[in-house]
Symmetry: C2
Subunit: 201 residues, 2 copies
DNA sequence: TGACATCCATGACATCTGTCATGGCGCGAT
DNA sequence: ATCGCGCCATGACAGATGTCATGGATGTCA
Protein backbone atom coordinates (compact mmCIF):
# COMPACT_ATOMS: atom_id res chain seq x y z
CA UNK A 1 0.00 0.00 0.00
CA UNK A 2 1.39 3.40 -1.02
CA UNK A 3 0.68 6.25 1.40
CA UNK A 4 0.30 9.64 -0.25
CA UNK A 5 0.13 13.19 1.05
CA UNK A 6 -1.79 15.69 -1.05
CA UNK A 7 -0.92 19.40 -0.89
CA UNK A 8 -3.18 21.64 -2.97
CA UNK A 9 -4.87 24.85 -1.94
CA UNK A 10 -8.11 24.55 -3.89
CA UNK A 11 -10.29 22.35 -1.72
CA UNK A 12 -12.49 21.06 -4.52
CA UNK A 13 -9.56 20.09 -6.69
CA UNK A 14 -7.74 18.56 -3.76
CA UNK A 15 -10.64 16.39 -2.74
CA UNK A 16 -11.32 15.48 -6.34
CA UNK A 17 -7.72 14.31 -6.75
CA UNK A 18 -8.11 12.35 -3.54
CA UNK A 19 -11.19 10.69 -4.97
CA UNK A 20 -9.26 9.90 -8.13
CA UNK A 21 -6.37 8.32 -6.25
CA UNK A 22 -8.85 6.55 -4.01
CA UNK A 23 -9.97 4.54 -7.02
CA UNK A 24 -6.55 2.90 -7.15
CA UNK A 25 -6.29 -0.26 -5.10
CA UNK A 26 -2.68 0.19 -4.06
CA UNK A 27 -2.81 3.89 -3.17
CA UNK A 28 -4.16 5.55 -0.06
CA UNK A 29 -4.35 9.29 0.60
CA UNK A 30 -3.30 9.56 4.25
CA UNK A 31 -3.03 13.33 4.57
CA UNK A 32 -4.30 16.48 2.89
CA UNK A 33 -3.06 20.03 3.39
CA UNK A 34 -3.97 23.33 1.76
CA UNK A 35 -0.82 25.30 2.57
CA UNK A 36 2.84 24.86 1.76
CA UNK A 37 3.95 25.46 5.31
CA UNK A 38 1.89 22.54 6.60
CA UNK A 39 3.51 19.92 4.41
CA UNK A 40 6.42 18.95 6.62
CA UNK A 41 4.40 18.41 9.76
CA UNK A 42 1.77 16.43 7.87
CA UNK A 43 4.41 14.18 6.37
CA UNK A 44 5.86 13.53 9.81
CA UNK A 45 2.58 12.67 11.49
CA UNK A 46 1.20 10.67 8.58
CA UNK A 47 4.40 8.95 7.52
CA UNK A 48 3.47 9.22 3.85
CA UNK A 49 5.81 7.68 1.28
CA UNK A 50 5.05 10.19 -1.45
CA UNK A 51 4.25 13.90 -1.30
CA UNK A 52 2.11 15.29 -4.11
CA UNK A 53 2.76 19.03 -4.12
CA UNK A 54 1.02 21.79 -5.99
CA UNK A 55 3.22 24.83 -6.64
CA UNK A 56 0.86 27.77 -6.24
CA UNK A 57 -0.05 27.64 -2.55
CA UNK A 58 -0.37 30.12 0.30
CA UNK A 59 2.06 30.17 3.22
CA UNK A 60 4.95 28.75 1.28
CA UNK A 61 4.94 27.62 -2.31
CA UNK A 62 5.29 24.00 -3.31
CA UNK A 63 8.89 24.42 -4.42
CA UNK A 64 9.93 25.79 -1.04
CA UNK A 65 8.00 22.98 0.64
CA UNK A 66 9.81 20.47 -1.55
CA UNK A 67 13.20 21.89 -0.60
CA UNK A 68 12.34 21.76 3.08
CA UNK A 69 11.02 18.24 2.74
CA UNK A 70 14.07 17.02 0.83
CA UNK A 71 16.31 18.18 3.67
CA UNK A 72 14.21 16.98 6.58
CA UNK A 73 12.85 13.71 5.20
CA UNK A 74 15.18 12.60 2.41
CA UNK A 75 13.45 9.25 1.97
CA UNK A 76 10.12 10.78 0.99
CA UNK A 77 9.42 10.89 -2.74
CA UNK A 78 8.31 14.19 -4.19
CA UNK A 79 5.90 14.65 -7.07
CA UNK A 80 5.27 18.22 -8.21
CA UNK A 81 1.84 18.80 -9.70
CA UNK A 82 1.10 22.16 -11.24
CA UNK A 83 -1.32 24.00 -13.47
CA UNK A 84 1.40 25.86 -15.29
CA UNK A 85 4.18 24.09 -17.13
CA UNK A 86 6.52 27.02 -16.70
CA UNK A 87 10.07 26.04 -17.68
CA UNK A 88 11.53 27.73 -14.61
CA UNK A 89 9.31 25.71 -12.31
CA UNK A 90 10.51 22.46 -13.80
CA UNK A 91 14.11 23.53 -13.63
CA UNK A 92 13.88 24.60 -10.01
CA UNK A 93 11.98 21.45 -9.08
CA UNK A 94 14.68 19.29 -10.61
CA UNK A 95 17.49 21.25 -8.94
CA UNK A 96 15.69 20.78 -5.66
CA UNK A 97 15.63 17.06 -6.17
CA UNK A 98 11.96 16.45 -6.99
CA UNK A 99 11.28 12.98 -8.36
CA UNK A 100 8.48 13.84 -10.76
CA UNK A 101 6.95 16.86 -12.43
CA UNK A 102 3.40 16.66 -13.76
CA UNK A 103 1.08 19.24 -15.26
CA UNK A 104 -2.63 19.15 -14.64
CA UNK A 105 -3.20 19.14 -18.38
CA UNK A 106 -1.96 15.56 -18.50
CA UNK A 107 -4.37 12.62 -18.46
CA UNK A 108 -5.46 11.50 -15.01
CA UNK A 109 -3.90 8.08 -15.41
CA UNK A 110 -0.44 9.64 -15.28
CA UNK A 111 -0.94 10.64 -11.69
CA UNK A 112 -1.18 7.19 -10.15
CA UNK A 113 1.40 6.00 -12.65
CA UNK A 114 3.88 8.64 -11.54
CA UNK A 115 3.31 7.82 -7.88
CA UNK A 116 4.15 4.18 -8.50
CA UNK A 117 7.16 4.94 -10.61
CA UNK A 118 8.85 7.38 -8.25
CA UNK A 119 8.50 4.78 -5.54
CA UNK A 120 10.46 2.40 -7.73
CA UNK A 121 13.17 5.04 -7.97
CA UNK A 122 12.29 6.38 -11.39
CA UNK A 123 12.04 10.04 -12.26
CA UNK A 124 9.01 11.16 -14.22
CA UNK A 125 9.04 14.21 -16.44
CA UNK A 126 6.95 15.24 -19.42
CA UNK A 127 9.44 15.06 -22.29
CA UNK A 128 7.87 17.96 -24.16
CA UNK A 129 8.10 20.18 -21.13
CA UNK A 130 11.67 19.07 -20.50
CA UNK A 131 12.58 20.04 -24.04
CA UNK A 132 11.11 23.52 -23.78
CA UNK A 133 12.69 24.01 -20.36
CA UNK A 134 16.07 23.20 -21.82
CA UNK A 135 15.55 25.38 -24.88
CA UNK A 136 14.38 28.35 -22.83
CA UNK A 137 17.50 28.20 -20.71
CA UNK A 138 18.06 29.22 -17.13
CA UNK A 139 16.85 32.38 -15.46
CA UNK A 140 19.19 35.15 -16.70
CA UNK A 141 18.20 37.58 -13.95
CA UNK A 142 20.25 38.35 -10.88
CA UNK A 143 18.56 38.12 -7.51
CA UNK A 144 18.29 41.86 -7.23
CA UNK A 145 16.86 42.23 -10.69
CA UNK A 146 14.25 39.64 -9.82
CA UNK A 147 13.36 41.57 -6.67
CA UNK A 148 12.90 44.77 -8.60
CA UNK A 149 10.92 43.12 -11.37
CA UNK A 150 8.69 41.43 -8.83
CA UNK A 151 8.07 44.79 -7.21
CA UNK A 152 7.18 46.21 -10.61
CA UNK A 153 4.78 43.39 -11.41
CA UNK A 154 1.72 45.06 -9.91
CA UNK A 155 2.13 48.24 -11.90
CA UNK A 156 4.07 50.21 -9.32
CA UNK A 157 5.96 53.30 -10.42
CA UNK A 158 9.70 53.65 -10.19
CA UNK A 159 9.51 55.89 -7.15
CA UNK A 160 7.24 53.43 -5.34
CA UNK A 161 9.57 50.54 -6.05
CA UNK A 162 12.56 52.62 -5.00
CA UNK A 163 11.11 53.48 -1.62
CA UNK A 164 9.83 49.95 -1.04
CA UNK A 165 13.24 48.42 -1.71
CA UNK A 166 15.23 51.33 -0.25
CA UNK A 167 16.96 52.10 -3.52
CA UNK A 168 17.45 55.25 -5.53
CA UNK A 169 15.18 55.76 -8.52
CA UNK A 170 18.13 55.61 -10.88
CA UNK A 171 19.13 52.21 -9.57
CA UNK A 172 15.63 50.89 -10.01
CA UNK A 173 15.60 52.13 -13.57
CA UNK A 174 18.95 50.49 -14.21
CA UNK A 175 17.82 47.15 -12.84
CA UNK A 176 14.61 47.29 -14.83
CA UNK A 177 16.52 48.24 -17.93
CA UNK A 178 18.74 45.20 -17.59
CA UNK A 179 15.70 43.00 -16.95
CA UNK A 180 14.22 44.30 -20.18
CA UNK A 181 17.45 43.62 -22.04
CA UNK A 182 17.96 40.12 -20.66
CA UNK A 183 14.40 39.03 -21.36
CA UNK A 184 14.39 40.65 -24.82
CA UNK A 185 11.28 42.52 -23.78
CA UNK A 186 9.91 45.76 -25.20
CA UNK A 187 9.34 47.41 -21.86
CA UNK A 188 8.78 46.77 -18.19
CA UNK A 189 5.34 45.20 -18.48
CA UNK A 190 6.54 42.90 -21.21
CA UNK A 191 9.51 41.85 -19.09
CA UNK A 192 7.18 41.05 -16.20
CA UNK A 193 5.02 38.93 -18.48
CA UNK A 194 7.95 37.03 -19.95
CA UNK A 195 9.57 36.37 -16.60
CA UNK A 196 6.23 35.25 -15.25
CA UNK A 197 5.54 32.86 -18.10
CA UNK A 198 8.95 31.32 -17.70
CA UNK A 199 8.51 30.80 -13.99
CA UNK A 200 11.29 33.18 -12.99
CA UNK A 201 9.31 35.27 -10.56
CA UNK B 1 -30.41 9.75 -11.92
CA UNK B 2 -28.91 13.15 -12.74
CA UNK B 3 -26.92 13.31 -15.97
CA UNK B 4 -24.03 15.76 -15.91
CA UNK B 5 -21.73 17.20 -18.55
CA UNK B 6 -18.28 18.29 -17.42
CA UNK B 7 -16.41 21.00 -19.31
CA UNK B 8 -12.89 21.69 -18.04
CA UNK B 9 -9.70 22.00 -20.02
CA UNK B 10 -7.25 20.47 -17.57
CA UNK B 11 -7.60 16.75 -18.13
CA UNK B 12 -6.39 15.71 -14.71
CA UNK B 13 -8.74 18.06 -12.90
CA UNK B 14 -11.62 17.13 -15.17
CA UNK B 15 -11.22 13.42 -14.61
CA UNK B 16 -10.70 13.97 -10.90
CA UNK B 17 -13.96 15.90 -10.70
CA UNK B 18 -15.61 13.09 -12.61
CA UNK B 19 -14.29 10.62 -10.06
CA UNK B 20 -15.62 12.83 -7.29
CA UNK B 21 -19.09 13.05 -8.81
CA UNK B 22 -18.95 9.36 -9.56
CA UNK B 23 -18.97 8.70 -5.83
CA UNK B 24 -22.49 10.12 -5.64
CA UNK B 25 -25.20 7.53 -6.12
CA UNK B 26 -27.65 9.82 -7.91
CA UNK B 27 -25.20 11.52 -10.26
CA UNK B 28 -23.67 10.25 -13.48
CA UNK B 29 -21.12 12.04 -15.65
CA UNK B 30 -22.36 11.34 -19.16
CA UNK B 31 -20.04 13.62 -21.14
CA UNK B 32 -16.69 15.34 -20.78
CA UNK B 33 -15.24 18.07 -22.98
CA UNK B 34 -12.05 20.12 -22.80
CA UNK B 35 -13.11 23.07 -24.94
CA UNK B 36 -15.86 25.64 -24.72
CA UNK B 37 -16.88 25.23 -28.33
CA UNK B 38 -17.62 21.53 -27.83
CA UNK B 39 -20.15 22.04 -25.05
CA UNK B 40 -23.30 22.47 -27.12
CA UNK B 41 -22.81 19.43 -29.28
CA UNK B 42 -21.94 17.28 -26.27
CA UNK B 43 -25.07 18.40 -24.46
CA UNK B 44 -27.17 17.51 -27.49
CA UNK B 45 -25.73 14.05 -27.99
CA UNK B 46 -25.57 13.19 -24.31
CA UNK B 47 -28.83 14.79 -23.24
CA UNK B 48 -27.32 15.91 -19.94
CA UNK B 49 -29.57 17.70 -17.44
CA UNK B 50 -26.80 19.85 -15.96
CA UNK B 51 -23.74 21.44 -17.54
CA UNK B 52 -20.77 22.03 -15.27
CA UNK B 53 -18.67 24.68 -16.99
CA UNK B 54 -15.20 25.95 -16.20
CA UNK B 55 -14.59 29.52 -17.35
CA UNK B 56 -10.99 29.49 -18.56
CA UNK B 57 -11.13 27.20 -21.57
CA UNK B 58 -9.72 27.20 -25.11
CA UNK B 59 -11.94 27.63 -28.15
CA UNK B 60 -14.60 29.58 -26.37
CA UNK B 61 -14.71 30.47 -22.72
CA UNK B 62 -17.24 28.99 -20.33
CA UNK B 63 -19.31 32.16 -20.20
CA UNK B 64 -19.74 32.22 -23.97
CA UNK B 65 -20.58 28.52 -23.88
CA UNK B 66 -23.18 29.21 -21.18
CA UNK B 67 -24.79 31.95 -23.28
CA UNK B 68 -24.95 29.69 -26.31
CA UNK B 69 -26.35 26.86 -24.24
CA UNK B 70 -28.98 29.02 -22.59
CA UNK B 71 -30.31 30.01 -26.00
CA UNK B 72 -30.16 26.62 -27.67
CA UNK B 73 -31.17 24.37 -24.79
CA UNK B 74 -33.08 26.49 -22.27
CA UNK B 75 -34.04 23.52 -20.13
CA UNK B 76 -30.45 22.59 -19.31
CA UNK B 77 -29.19 23.80 -15.93
CA UNK B 78 -25.89 25.63 -15.87
CA UNK B 79 -23.34 25.51 -13.08
CA UNK B 80 -20.26 27.68 -13.49
CA UNK B 81 -17.15 26.34 -11.79
CA UNK B 82 -14.05 28.48 -11.75
CA UNK B 83 -10.68 28.90 -10.12
CA UNK B 84 -11.03 32.63 -9.84
CA UNK B 85 -13.87 34.28 -7.98
CA UNK B 86 -13.61 37.42 -10.06
CA UNK B 87 -16.60 39.67 -9.46
CA UNK B 88 -17.07 40.33 -13.16
CA UNK B 89 -17.28 36.61 -13.89
CA UNK B 90 -20.06 36.16 -11.38
CA UNK B 91 -21.93 39.17 -12.69
CA UNK B 92 -21.70 38.08 -16.29
CA UNK B 93 -22.66 34.52 -15.39
CA UNK B 94 -25.78 35.74 -13.60
CA UNK B 95 -26.74 38.09 -16.44
CA UNK B 96 -26.37 35.16 -18.79
CA UNK B 97 -28.77 33.13 -16.74
CA UNK B 98 -26.44 30.66 -15.06
CA UNK B 99 -28.05 28.74 -12.21
CA UNK B 100 -25.05 28.38 -9.94
CA UNK B 101 -21.59 29.85 -9.51
CA UNK B 102 -18.98 27.88 -7.58
CA UNK B 103 -15.29 28.49 -6.95
CA UNK B 104 -12.83 25.63 -6.78
CA UNK B 105 -11.75 26.86 -3.35
CA UNK B 106 -15.04 25.63 -1.94
CA UNK B 107 -15.34 22.24 -0.24
CA UNK B 108 -15.96 19.35 -2.62
CA UNK B 109 -19.33 18.55 -1.07
CA UNK B 110 -20.74 21.77 -2.49
CA UNK B 111 -20.37 20.48 -6.01
CA UNK B 112 -22.84 17.62 -5.83
CA UNK B 113 -25.01 19.73 -3.60
CA UNK B 114 -25.18 22.50 -6.17
CA UNK B 115 -25.99 20.05 -8.95
CA UNK B 116 -28.96 18.72 -6.97
CA UNK B 117 -30.19 22.13 -6.00
CA UNK B 118 -30.16 23.72 -9.45
CA UNK B 119 -32.19 20.76 -10.65
CA UNK B 120 -34.79 21.64 -8.05
CA UNK B 121 -34.87 25.14 -9.50
CA UNK B 122 -32.70 26.82 -6.88
CA UNK B 123 -29.88 29.19 -7.66
CA UNK B 124 -26.62 28.65 -5.83
CA UNK B 125 -24.13 31.44 -5.21
CA UNK B 126 -21.43 31.94 -2.63
CA UNK B 127 -22.78 34.80 -0.48
CA UNK B 128 -19.34 36.27 0.20
CA UNK B 129 -18.56 36.41 -3.47
CA UNK B 130 -21.95 37.89 -4.24
CA UNK B 131 -21.30 40.64 -1.72
CA UNK B 132 -17.92 41.58 -3.19
CA UNK B 133 -19.34 41.43 -6.71
CA UNK B 134 -22.02 43.90 -5.71
CA UNK B 135 -19.62 46.19 -3.88
CA UNK B 136 -17.13 46.24 -6.76
CA UNK B 137 -19.85 47.34 -9.16
CA UNK B 138 -20.21 46.71 -12.85
CA UNK B 139 -17.52 47.01 -15.47
CA UNK B 140 -17.07 50.77 -16.06
CA UNK B 141 -15.24 50.33 -19.36
CA UNK B 142 -16.75 50.78 -22.78
CA UNK B 143 -16.31 48.02 -25.32
CA UNK B 144 -13.62 49.89 -27.18
CA UNK B 145 -11.73 50.71 -24.01
CA UNK B 146 -11.79 47.03 -23.12
CA UNK B 147 -10.42 46.15 -26.55
CA UNK B 148 -7.56 48.57 -26.17
CA UNK B 149 -6.76 47.50 -22.63
CA UNK B 150 -6.79 43.87 -23.68
CA UNK B 151 -4.38 44.70 -26.48
CA UNK B 152 -2.14 46.45 -23.96
CA UNK B 153 -2.19 43.51 -21.55
CA UNK B 154 0.82 41.75 -23.01
CA UNK B 155 3.07 44.78 -22.77
CA UNK B 156 2.54 46.10 -26.28
CA UNK B 157 3.51 49.67 -27.02
CA UNK B 158 1.01 52.31 -28.09
CA UNK B 159 2.08 52.16 -31.72
CA UNK B 160 1.72 48.37 -31.81
CA UNK B 161 -1.76 48.57 -30.32
CA UNK B 162 -2.70 51.35 -32.74
CA UNK B 163 -1.73 49.36 -35.81
CA UNK B 164 -3.30 46.17 -34.52
CA UNK B 165 -6.65 47.89 -33.91
CA UNK B 166 -6.37 50.30 -36.86
CA UNK B 167 -6.48 53.36 -34.64
CA UNK B 168 -4.32 56.43 -34.36
CA UNK B 169 -1.79 56.53 -31.54
CA UNK B 170 -3.54 59.46 -29.98
CA UNK B 171 -6.81 57.58 -29.80
CA UNK B 172 -5.12 54.62 -28.16
CA UNK B 173 -3.58 56.92 -25.58
CA UNK B 174 -6.95 58.52 -24.95
CA UNK B 175 -8.68 55.19 -24.46
CA UNK B 176 -5.92 53.98 -22.16
CA UNK B 177 -6.08 57.20 -20.22
CA UNK B 178 -9.78 56.77 -19.60
CA UNK B 179 -9.22 53.12 -18.61
CA UNK B 180 -6.69 54.33 -16.07
CA UNK B 181 -9.09 56.92 -14.77
CA UNK B 182 -12.07 54.62 -14.54
CA UNK B 183 -10.16 51.87 -12.76
CA UNK B 184 -8.41 54.34 -10.44
CA UNK B 185 -5.11 52.89 -11.56
CA UNK B 186 -1.69 54.49 -11.47
CA UNK B 187 -0.78 53.60 -15.04
CA UNK B 188 -1.50 51.21 -17.86
CA UNK B 189 -0.04 48.10 -16.25
CA UNK B 190 -1.96 48.78 -13.07
CA UNK B 191 -5.18 49.22 -15.05
CA UNK B 192 -4.59 45.90 -16.78
CA UNK B 193 -4.07 44.20 -13.45
CA UNK B 194 -7.20 45.72 -11.87
CA UNK B 195 -9.40 44.95 -14.84
CA UNK B 196 -8.05 41.43 -14.88
CA UNK B 197 -8.66 40.81 -11.19
CA UNK B 198 -12.20 42.05 -11.54
CA UNK B 199 -12.92 39.80 -14.49
CA UNK B 200 -13.45 42.64 -16.94
CA UNK B 201 -11.06 41.44 -19.62
C1' DT C 1 46.64 39.96 -6.14
C1' DG C 2 44.19 40.74 -10.14
C1' DA C 3 40.10 39.74 -12.93
C1' DC C 4 35.42 39.68 -12.69
C1' DA C 5 30.60 40.10 -11.42
C1' DT C 6 27.07 42.23 -8.67
C1' DC C 7 25.10 46.01 -6.54
C1' DC C 8 24.37 50.77 -5.94
C1' DA C 9 24.42 55.41 -7.50
C1' DT C 10 24.49 59.81 -10.51
C1' DG C 11 23.48 62.65 -14.46
C1' DA C 12 22.06 63.35 -19.12
C1' DC C 13 19.36 62.27 -22.95
C1' DA C 14 15.70 60.65 -26.15
C1' DT C 15 11.52 58.57 -26.13
C1' DC C 16 7.25 56.98 -24.38
C1' DT C 17 3.23 57.81 -21.61
C1' DG C 18 -0.64 60.03 -19.50
C1' DT C 19 -3.48 64.17 -19.52
C1' DC C 20 -6.14 67.74 -21.33
C1' DA C 21 -8.71 70.78 -24.51
C1' DT C 22 -11.06 70.57 -28.56
C1' DG C 23 -13.86 69.00 -32.32
C1' DG C 24 -16.33 65.92 -35.68
C1' DC C 25 -19.34 61.84 -36.40
C1' DG C 26 -23.08 58.63 -35.41
C1' DC C 27 -26.71 56.84 -32.52
C1' DG C 28 -30.34 56.28 -29.27
C1' DA C 29 -33.32 58.48 -25.85
C1' DT C 30 -36.17 62.34 -24.22
C1' DA D 1 -34.69 67.79 -32.88
C1' DT D 2 -31.75 68.37 -29.31
C1' DC D 3 -29.07 66.16 -25.82
C1' DG D 4 -25.89 62.93 -24.12
C1' DC D 5 -22.67 59.40 -24.96
C1' DG D 6 -19.42 56.57 -27.22
C1' DC D 7 -16.01 56.72 -30.68
C1' DC D 8 -12.22 58.68 -33.28
C1' DA D 9 -8.86 62.11 -34.03
C1' DT D 10 -5.33 66.05 -33.37
C1' DG D 11 -1.98 68.80 -30.96
C1' DA D 12 0.44 70.22 -26.96
C1' DC D 13 2.49 69.53 -22.58
C1' DA D 14 4.51 67.55 -18.28
C1' DG D 15 6.17 63.80 -16.32
C1' DA D 16 7.61 58.95 -16.40
C1' DT D 17 10.45 55.63 -18.56
C1' DG D 18 14.37 53.39 -20.84
C1' DT D 19 19.22 53.86 -22.18
C1' DC D 20 23.91 54.91 -21.62
C1' DA D 21 28.40 56.28 -19.74
C1' DT D 22 30.68 56.36 -15.63
C1' DG D 23 32.30 55.24 -11.12
C1' DG D 24 32.66 53.41 -6.24
C1' DA D 25 31.94 49.48 -2.95
C1' DT D 26 31.79 44.49 -2.36
C1' DG D 27 32.65 39.81 -2.69
C1' DT D 28 34.36 35.69 -5.23
C1' DC D 29 37.41 32.96 -7.74
C1' DA D 30 41.65 31.67 -10.05
Amino acid sequence: MINVLLAEDQAMVREALAALLGLEEDIRVVAQVARGDEVLEAIRTSGADVALLDIEMPGQDGLAAAAELRRAVPGCRIVMLTTFGRPGYLRRAMELGADAFLVKDAPAAQLADAVRRVLRGERVIDPTLAATALSVGADPLTERERDVLRAAADGSTVSEIASRLHLSEGTVRNHLSSCIGKTHARNRADAVRIAHENGWL
